[in-house]
């Protein structure tokens, strides 16, 4: 590069107590009008590096230069003033505020003494239209599905007119169509001279969108490549240190009896409106039923109702023929049901507690003595260590607070815990969201191993590729109903896409 980079990092070091080396001597640069991808395994230090650049963390050593001038960011406000904006991996929205209020916070021009939320709303509508991000500025954030919340974050950034946009795994929660839309936005921004750093685990996206790619491993920059001069297998090897074959090795498994059966189920959302409308499905032992659909079509409400976390309006849920519609989550766990929630930070784990304490959540009475009354810490710690080893969780030890794990590592912990429980029926929601390719391999293999052992698995995923790779049957959900079920083998992607958009397609190859 001959021109001065917009932003340059030189020799960044960052250590977390007790002894986590998150970044070691990392240097990288972004030119104006360039899209740089940052790639790396879970826990490689990507989010840490980005948060240093955004002024959230302080570096231990190294330099940050903007337009060739060294800068100090004491907080994100400083970064924003230098034109650097960031979307976090976990959303940073005020849940009880409206979309416009969230965007207005800290940015809106003051008119008199009050936020001029209405002006913001008008600007937002224009922005949203321009970039094809359908968001209602008046909607309250906590009522929005995660996919839409992500769009709000993107809008917030666009609204702030950042020169450098840092996006930490922005595509993890988007549907393929939305990803394509986002990438159009990013290309338009690039054409307008803005720079973009995008953190992603998806090699396809790296190839698709980036000009250059920087790969982190164990906190170090192990290589920066020009995207056009590399390919996916090369990048995967650079990142993981070995060859990765992202293909599920699915053995034929005899289909068992029906274990989870849902009949005519209706469930209401937060606002009392029906989100699941008379939905029926059956999951058999030894099979994976994939539920494909665009986020926000009732998937979350469905799984929450299945696990007893949300009341059922009408209909029935049966486990092994027993009606469990009114049972508590604890009773469902006892009946050998396990659940991997999409929101691993707030629902699947307790950030302030240690890995050990999280490893027994839901089975606290199993890792106990005296008839489940007294905690057996040694057994719990051994269990946690076993999970760490089996799923390759990167952590200093079982006493480490779960909230400080990187996103992907926390997911491995929560999934590992649920799977380790030998459930008869396993409901998994977005199981590989935010995982690196190596970890996805592990998780897919684990789900298939569970299937081979005769477990019934209900897989909810916005990742069509995941469903195509794993599911024996694919049920497409739209607007709270199953609009069609097709066999997984040889499913037609185009037809699935149509069904996911609510277009009823003549059923074929029905299962």
């Amino acid at each position: 590069m001959t021109a001065t980079p917009l932003v340059e990092l030189r020799g960044i070091y960052k250590r977390f107590p007790p002894d986590v080396r998150a970044n070691e001597d990392v240097s990288m640069a972004v030119a104006p009008g360039e899209i740089l991808a940052v790639l790396g395994e879970n826990g490689a230090g990507k989010s840490t590096l980005m948060q240093i650049l955004y002024g959230v963390y302080r570096r231990d050593a190294g330099e940050i230069l903007v337009d060739g001038v060294p800068v100090e960011f004491a907080n994100p406000g400083d970064a924003i003033r230098h034109g650097i904006g960031m979307i976090h991996q976990e959303f940073m929205l005020v849940r009880s505020f409206s979309v416009a209020e969230n965007v207005a916070m800290g940015t809106a021009p003051l008119k008199g003494e009050k936020f001029d939320v209405r002006a913001v709303a008008a600007d937002l509508t224009a922005l949203a239209q321009k970039f094809g991000l359908g968001v209602d500025p008046a909607a309250i954030v906590e009522h929005l599905p995660v996919g839409v919340q992500q769009r709000v974050e993107i809008l917030k950034l666009l609204y702030r007119e950042a020169r450098l946009l840092i996006l930490d795994e922005p595509t993890a929660v988007l549907t393929p169509q939305e990803v394509a839309g986002l990438f159009d936005v990013l290309r338009a921004l690039k054409a307008a001279g803005k720079s973009i750093i995008i953190v992603t685990h998806k090699l396809r996206e790296v190839m698709d969108i980036s000009d250059r790619v920087t790969v982190l491993r164990d906190g170090r920059n192990v290589g920066t490549r020009i995207t056009a001069e590399t390919d996916e297998p090369l990048l995967a090897r650079l990142m993981v240190g070995r060859d990765v074959l992202l293909r599920a090795d699915k053995q034929p498994t005899p289909r068992g009896r029906s274990r989870l059966s849902v009949a005519d189920l209706s469930v209401a959302g937060h606002d009392g409106e029906l989100r699941v409308r008379g939905l029926s499905l059956d999951v058999h032992g030894g099979e994976i039923l994939g539920v494909a659909g665009v986020d926000g079509n009732g998937q979350s409400e469905l799984v929450e109702a299945l696990f007893g976390l949300r009341p059922v309006v009408s209909g029935q849920v049966a486990l092994d023929g027993e009606d469990v519609t009114r049972l508590s989550p604890a009773a469902r766990r006892t009946a050998h049901m396990a659940y991997l929630p999409a929101d691993r930070r707030n629902v699947g784990s307790v950030g302030d507690l240690s890995i050990t304490d999280n490893a027994v959540l839901g089975a606290q009475r199993t890792f106990a003595r005296f008839g489940g009354r007294w905690r057996d810490r040694r057994a719990a710690a051994a269990h946690a260590s076993a999970l760490i080893a089996r799923f390759g969780i990167r952590a200093p030890g079982p006493d480490f607070p779960a909230g400080k794990l990187s996103g992907g590592n926390l997911q491995k912990l929560v999934l590992g815990r649920e799977v380790a429980r030998d459930p008869g029926v396993l409901v998994v929601e977005q199981p590989t969201r935010g995982l690196d390719v190596g970890a996805i391999e592990t998780v897919w293999a684990e789900l298939l191993a569970q299937r081979a052992q005769g477990r019934a698995i209900l897989l909810i995923s916005a990742e069509l590729e995941e469903i195509l790779n794993l599911a024996d049957r694919i049920a497409v959900i739209f607007d709270g109903r199953i609009v069609g079920t097709v066999a997984g083998a040889g499913a037609d992607v185009a037809a699935l896409g149509l069904m996911m958009a609510g277009r009823p397609v003549a059923q074929y190859g029905a299962a």
Partner: protein, 357 residues
């Protein structure tokens, strides 16, 4: 040169850091409080020497200190139990009074005819049960009707205070000029543990309760479930924990613990029920728990220090003639600065020397 607050990379959370932050806060409070002595021509050093010496280094004073500390520990334990499980109970003053009423009644009714070894456990158990029912009402209201426990529990303090007033002016009033119950039978008084002091076995009751609460919260499955409930109700529900059941349990136990301060105060100190018994203990105990960072050990330490401050402050006042408001100011300063010292664990003060650009 300018002073600037700079955020630490991570909060300093080692035991050493916590100790130094708290010690620095106490010293700062004493220094600032010491300034108040100067108009009275009292040397802060001798005054503080009086305070510490009396409260912790004389048998008599230390006896008073532990007597003051015992009810604070019990209320503080109730606070730890409730707040750690997400139940923001503030009704300990009321619970204490309920325990005081129950134990007074029991002592007057059958205290004289029971051996003390039977009477004490019975009095404690009944106080715990009555206080638990009292605070459990608030928990039940929250579980059933929703709403917040903060206001309801606060208001119930007034109900309990008026109830005591009614009892000592009406049904339980003894002959005499003052609105108070009859003197309790001597056999029901808490025995003195150190000859020549006022220290009674109330402190043992408090310490045993502390050990039990500590064990339950740390070691039992129920304790784990309570703590998860307090940290994240959503994760708790997901983990199969009966959140409203656990909240209800927590609401019962916390009031029960607070109510134990009633018998400790009545049987140990006053030896009768009177209007204003245990005044303020139900709130100071909450403060002690907060100073102790909602841990059992921290609460015990904070309660003893607080008790010592009260006792030593009285002595200091007697010797030096300082007004008692001075000691109250120092107490408040300590509370404020210790709570504020948490800031120094996540921020540090740096001296920035301006350099020529």
């Amino acid at each position: 040169m300018i002073l600037r607050l700079e955020r630490r990379l991570a909060p300093a959370s080692s035991p050493r850091a916590i100790f130094f932050a708290n010690a620095a806060a106490i010293v700062a409070a004493l220094v600032v409080g010491g300034l108040l002595f100067l108009p009275f021509h009292v040397s802060p050093l001798t005054a503080y020497a009086d305070l510490v010496g009396e409260a912790f280094f004389t048998a008599r004073g230390f006896g008073y200190t532990v007597t003051e500390a015992a009810p604070l520990i019990l209320v503080g334990l109730g606070t730890v139990f409730a707040w750690r499980s997400g139940f923001a109970y503030l009704g300990f003053q009321g619970a204490l009074l309920v325990g005081a009423v129950v134990s007074t009644w029991l002592a007057l009714q059958i205290g004289a005819s029971l051996p003390f070894a039977l009477f004490l456990p019975l009095a404690l158990a009944l106080s715990f049960a009555a206080g638990g029912a009292w605070s459990g009402l608030v928990g039940f209201a929250r579980a059933r009707l929703g709403g917040t426990e903060v206001l309801v529990s606060l208001m119930m303090n007034y109900v309990a205070a008026l109830l005591v007033q009614y009892l000592v002016t009406g049904p339980m009033r003894a002959d005499g000029d003052l609105p108070q119950s009859a003197l309790l039978p001597r056999s029901t008084w808490l025995p003195i543990i150190l000859d020549g002091t006022r220290a009674n076995i109330g402190i043992f009751v408090a310490l045993v309760a502390a050990v039990i609460v500590g064990l339950v919260l740390r070691g039992s499955v129920v304790g784990y479930e309570l703590i998860v409930t307090g940290l994240s109700p959503r994760a708790a529900r997901f983990g199969g924990i009966d959140v409203s059941g656990r909240t209800l349990l927590s609401s019962v136990v916390c009031g029960g613990l607070g109510a134990l301060a009633g018998p400790v105060e009545v049987l140990g100190n006053q030896h009768r029920l009177l209007d204003g018994v245990g005044e303020g203990l139900g709130f100071v105990g909450i403060v002690a728990a907060l100073l102790g960072k909602l841990t059992v050990v921290g609460t015990v330490i904070a309660s003893v220090l607080y008790g010592g401050l009260t006792v030593g402050g009285n002595a200091m006042q007697r010797h030096s003639g300082l007004p008692s408001s001075v000691i109250l100011v120092i107490e408040a300063l300590i509370v404020l600065l210790v709570l504020a010292s948490d800031l120094l664990r996540s921020w540090r003060i740096v001296f920035v020397v301006r350099q020529a650009a």
